[in-house]
Symmetry: C2
Subunit: 110 residues, 2 copies
């Protein structure tokens, strides 16, 4: 099928899945890491940095934006994309809570 049965899962589960899915491509990881490296980021830089064509990069930026991981400001005819800290906090808190819950488990079976 290819379609995901989102309607059967909780909002939180869908929301975390959407966030992690958006991170689930090396190009998008590379974009995030480039955004961390520079203080101001424009798409044009990424075209030189990544081994992908400009439309492909634009598409990856769109997905990161849809997932709320980055946000973009139009400045003249360039665009300044930045990481949205809220998304990072959310995902970090989630994995941090998993880690805590794991450590609290008594009967580790494996």
């Amino acid at each position: 099928m290819g379609i995901t049965k989102s309607e059967f899962f909780t909002d939180k589960q869908n929301s975390i899945a959407q966030l992690t899915k958006a991170f689930g491509h090396p190009a998008r990881i590379a974009i995030i890491e480039h955004l961390l490296k520079v203080d101001t980021c424009i798409c044009g830089e990424l075209v030189d940095e990544l081994p992908l064509a400009q439309p492909t990069i634009s598409q990856h930026l769109k997905e990161l934006k849809n997932a709320g991981i980055i946000k973009g400001n139009i400045t003249g005819n360039a665009i300044c994309y930045c990481i949205d800290e809220k998304a990072i906090d959310k995902i970090q808190n989630y994995f941090s809570s998993i880690s805590t819950r794991l450590n609290n488990k008594k009967n580790k079976c494996c």
Copy 2:
């Protein structure tokens, strides 16, 4: 195309992308959360818990296993799947480092 150009990215980028991608489906998030809730987990429980058919769940378990997020022990004719803490640590450390690097940025443009 549908194929990912992994060969052009670093091992670490690919590795993080693989981990996050495996988390990027609500059913797999639900599986992880169920594994956290109970101390011992078998696939049969999941079939009752999740709104998906058994082959589909088996497939999701396989992907989590391939990504190193869970590991399975055969016990009789059942299988005990558990979360692999190393994977959680890895992903948690990654997002934690992103968070730190974000906070250290001076020129926030957005």
